[in-house]
């Protein structure tokens, strides 16, 4: 365990698209980050899945790096952050939401595979760093940000929440 009280900053900033695909065979959803100028919309077959394009949103990816000790935490496995509005007592994230004081909000860090069939999700080190980063200067404001991995959701695909992506950029009058 590091003795450093990390002073995180965002590094390796990349702007691009969050591309969401769905399997029309089993209903699974998958997402990936694309740094291409135009997000890919190809349909393809992968194992038991038949992926087709569902949508894309402008977003960004970043890593966290400590000014004090130089530690760098890769957040490659984080495809997005979702502000959870789940209140389902049968879901760990919903239960966590129900326990929070006003001013404390739960964000779900989304990995690429909503089905979690491989058992993988956002790393524990990434979750810890995100919590430290987003809470670094809000304690005196009576706010708290709680970041949890999406494997805690009963179903990410059905979870009520707001994914932080750019929408409506072409709708501005």
């Amino acid at each position: 365990m590091s003795a450093c009280k990390h002073d995180w900053f965002m590094s390796n900033l990349r702007h691009g698209f969050l591309v969401v695909e769905g399997c029309w065979e089993c209903g699974a959803r998958s997402s990936f980050f694309s740094a291409e100028p135009i997000p890919p919309i190809d349909e393809y077959h992968e194992g038991r899945h038949f992926w087709s394009f569902m949508g894309s949103f402008q977003t960004m990816k970043f890593d966290l790096e400590c000014r004090a000790c130089g530690t760098r935490v890769s957040l490659d496995d984080v495809n997005g952050l979702m502000l959870s509005e789940c209140k389902d007592r049968g879901c760990q994230v919903g239960a966590l939401n129900n326990q929070q004081e006003p001013g404390s909000l739960v964000y779900v860090a989304l990995c690429a595979d909503s089905t979690h069939t491989t058992g993988e999700c956002v790393s524990g080190g990434g979750i810890e760093a995100l919590n430290q980063y987003f809470n670094r200067n809000i304690e005196d404001l009576g706010r708290r940000v709680i970041v949890v991995p999406c494997k805690m959701c009963n179903s990410v695909d059905k979870c009520r929440g707001t994914v932080i992506v750019d929408v409506g950029l072409t709708d501005i009058e």
Partner: protein
Amino acid sequence: MKISELEEKAGLRALNEYKDREVESVYISDMVSDIITSAKRNSILITLQTHKSLIAAANLVAAAMIVIVKGRVPSDDVVELATRTGIGVFTSDLDTWTFAKKLVQLGLE
């Protein structure tokens, strides 16, 4: 300058109850991916956007207030979410540039 003072001097219309506090900087953007990487704590966010993602991002950067320009008004669920975060949401009839000039005239830079 405090939020309440700015509300009065800049002719803003508050859309929710907010925690009054000092504002320290200004950030103008219509992209949440830009806000989340560049806006500062206790900042005024000036934008044309009215969606929930804006509030989710503003909370992460600990923004003090959001000013939506050109008289645009977000839906009730967006305002309700902002209230939960303690972030004041205001609307101004001015466009972004005119509102930014007004802030400079009031001593905010």
